[in-house]
């Protein structure tokens, strides 16, 4: 059993990872509440944005331009998808909407492998300027990137909770989660609210793409399917509560990284989000797996 010292660095990295999972998870939950879509392409748009940023930086563009393009790309693709396929599938089951986003995932995944192929053993890496600076907490080295990741996760969570509760747009989103039809008859511009939700989710996807490309790896497959960790956090929160999403995301990030020094389990640590989500889903089923529910609030 490794000693406490061996665990310490992984607490920091786990918190940073959890922070990014939190900001992704919150984005997915808000989008689900407003539109009924579980955005499974969240990771793919972030990944492609990160790869575009990498290409730009490689072509000697300044770093901040690359990151900005990444976020903009993710936001635009997400918004475009939402505006084109949102109305087309609006009346369908959430399952159909989710599977449709898988279609988008495949398109992006194919494009990424086509344009930034990894055959031939090429590996790419991304570094943020905040990787270099940092400080020490006791014996542990903490980089600014990790601080930003965790801080962003906390900030986004708090801002989202406040936004949903106190602003007009946020209330409109909550209303749409409850009943889209009645919300529309009350004069709320539902399409515009949906567009705002898609755009917000896309921006978060871009941010997550940048951070995960730095913290984890700049690899299309890895980044695309890291969405599952954020999805796990969202599922533990039953796609409803923002604060539980945050807490679950932090736990998932921590558990995943803390398993690294444990020899017997280390190889299996990538299964952490899957296992936790499966347990959460099964616990969910004993609570409310009804055949008929109308509102997304009773997810």
């Amino acid at each position: 059993m490794p000693s406490w010292q061996d665990f310490e660095p992984f607490i920091v990295s786990g918190l940073a990872l959890g922070g990014v999972y939190a900001l992704s998870g919150v984005g997915m939950v808000v989008l689900y509440q407003a539109t009924g879509v579980v955005y499974l392409a969240f990771g793919a748009v972030g990944a492609m944005g990160a790869l575009i940023a990498w290409s730009l930086i490689n072509a000697h563009a300044p770093g901040w331009v690359g990151w900005l393009v990444c976020v903009a790309f993710a936001a635009l693709v997400t918004l475009a998808y939402g505006m084109v396929f949102g109305p087309a599938l609006a009346k369908r089951d959430p399952l159909v909407k989710a599977v449709a986003t898988l279609g988008l995932t495949l398109v992006l995944f194919g494009l990424m492998d086509l344009l930034w192929t990894t055959s031939g053993g090429q590996s790419r890496a991304i570094t943020l300027p905040t990787d270099n600076g940092g400080f020490m907490i006791g014996q542990i080295q903490v980089t600014w990137t990790q601080v930003i990741s965790l801080a962003l996760g906390i900030v986004i969570t708090v801002v989202t909770v406040v936004f949903l509760r106190l602003t007009k747009l946020g209330t409109a989103m909550r209303a749409m989660a409850n009943d889209r039809e009645i919300t529309a008859t009350l004069g709320v511009p539902v399409r515009r609210v949906e567009a705002a939700a898609w755009l917000g989710c896309g921006i978060l996807a871009g941010l997550a793409g940048v951070l995960l490309a730095d913290l984890v790896a700049l690899d299309a497959t890895t980044l695309t399917f890291l969405v599952i960790s954020s999805l796990a956090a969202a599922l533990i929160a039953r796609l409803r509560s923002i604060t539980i999403t945050f807490a679950a995301a932090i736990v998932i990030g921590l558990v995943h990284d803390l398993l690294t020094p444990i020899q017997s389990l280390s190889n299996y640590r990538d299964a952490t989000p899957f296992v936790l989500a499966a347990i959460a889903l099964l616990a969910l089923s004993s609570g409310g797996g009804q055949v008929l529910t109308r509102s997304r609030e009773e997810a």
Binding site: V38, F85, A88, L89, R92, D93, P94, L95, V96, A98, V99, A100, L102, G103, L104, T105, L106, V107, L108, F109, G110, L111, D113, L114, T221, T224, F225, I228, L231, A232, L235, N267, Y268, D270, A271, P273, F274, V275, A277, A278, L281, L282, L284, S285, S286, G289, Q290, V291, L292, T293
Partner: protein
């Protein structure tokens, strides 16, 4: 039924005789017979003529088509017949392949027995997972299958596939010379194994066909149309959903066994998580509801990439195509190509006939 044309006086006689007559089975109509004959002819062609016409490269590709048609068939039963989406069928395939490989190395059992065992063990595991999972609604069921498949992929990356080593896992990491997974003695060569795979696939298709034509098929249709109505009609929906899960797992497990023999060597890289998503895409495109749809899905999955590779086109274009296909199917043609193409062809036929009539107005009757 009322006696046709029997007078009131003969009422007492005619019904009695009719009651003693055994009801005759309906004779299959000409349409069914023609279709059966066409399918039989096609099968004979595929089994005997095709391997002679194709190079070994394409024979291998067609063996994969047979395997993945079975996997698509399993998924089609779930998605098309019952309306359950599973995002983890490739993991189930991996389990079937693993079990078959382990048995083939550890025992000297005949191949059909190994395939049967692989199918049954996979079916058992699928049923065990289905027991709690089927309480979930559609979206959550799909997501939990994705989660479980992902977890299995991680586990497989560490435990690896059996390669003749000792112990339960049967994996020997330090071996330099890895023995290949054996094939049946009657089907050791590639063309022979292709025929073997096709025969197994046909058996699986017949199994599903038998299910569809009998009570499970009717129950699934009722559940798919409206689960509350089916429940109200007294159908044990949970049981039939579990049966669908079991059937799909069995078929996919057998497919895994055939895959083990086809590939000779199995690696966890062969079963990435996103394959399950792509499999769903081809099943939706081919048509989840029809048995031909599973064949189309198999062709899309295994033949198209081989063709493209031969022509020097990257297989990534296919991934993009499948993504677009999913979006197209979900927004416009829910029944996929198998349903859409005959309709489109019929429409084309009508348009052609309309054109022909316009070109020869003197021959048409009232214009």
């Amino acid at each position: 039924m009322a006696a046709s044309g029997g007078s009131a006086a003969a009422d007492t006689e005619v019904p009695a005789t009719r009651a003693r007559q055994r009801p005759t089975l309906p004779r299959p109509g000409t349409g069914t017979l023609v279709r059966a004959a066409v399918i039989a002819a096609l099968l004979l062609f595929v089994l005997f003529a095709l391997p002679q016409l194709m190079s070994l490269y394409y024979v291998d590709a067609m063996t994969q088509v047979a395997v993945w048609s079975m996997a698509a068939l399993g998924l089609g039963v779930l998605v098309g017949r019952v309306g359950l989406v599973s995002l983890g069928q490739v993991a189930v395939l991996a389990i079937g392949a693993w079990v078959a490989a382990r048995l083939l190395f550890a025992t000297a059992q005949p191949y059909p027995l190994v395939l049967l065992e692989a199918g049954l063990i996979t079916m058992l595991l699928g049923t065990l997972i289905g027991l709690p999972a089927l309480r979930l609604r559609g979206l959550y069921l799909a997501l939990i299958t994705l989660m479980l498949a992902g977890a299995l992929t991680v586990v497989l990356a560490t435990t690896n596939f059996p390669n003749g080593g000792p112990g339960f896992l049967g994996y020997n990491g330090s071996q330099v010379h890895i023995p290949p997974i054996r094939r049946p003695s009657i089907a050791a060569s590639d063309p022979a194994y292709f025929r073997y795979a096709v025969v197994v696939a046909v058996l699986m298709f017949l199994l599903v066909f038998a299910h569809i034509r009998t009570r499970p098929g009717r129950a699934w249709a009722a559940v798919r149309q409206s689960e509350p109505a089916a429940l109200a009609a007294g159908i044990n929906t949970w049981f039939y959903k579990l049966w669908a899960f079991a059937l799909a797992s069995f078929i996919t497990g057998v497919a895994g066994g055939v895959l083990a023999g086809a590939n000779h060597y199995l690696y966890s890289l062969n079963f990435p998580t996103y394959y399950s998503i792509t499999l769903l895409a081809v099943v939706l495109m081919g048509g989840a509801y029809s048995l031909w749809g599973a064949v189309i899905a198999g062709l899309l999955w295994a033949l198209l990439p081989s063709l493209l590779q031969n022509w020097g086109v990257s297989a990534d274009w296919l991934t993009i195509l499948f993504g677009v296909g999913v979006l197209q199917v979900l927004t416009t043609a829910p029944r996929g190509l198998a349903d859409q193409v005959p309709k489109d062809l019929a429409r084309l036929g009508r348009a052609a006939r309309g054109l022909a009539r316009k070109r020869a107005p003197s021959e048409s009757s009232a214009g």
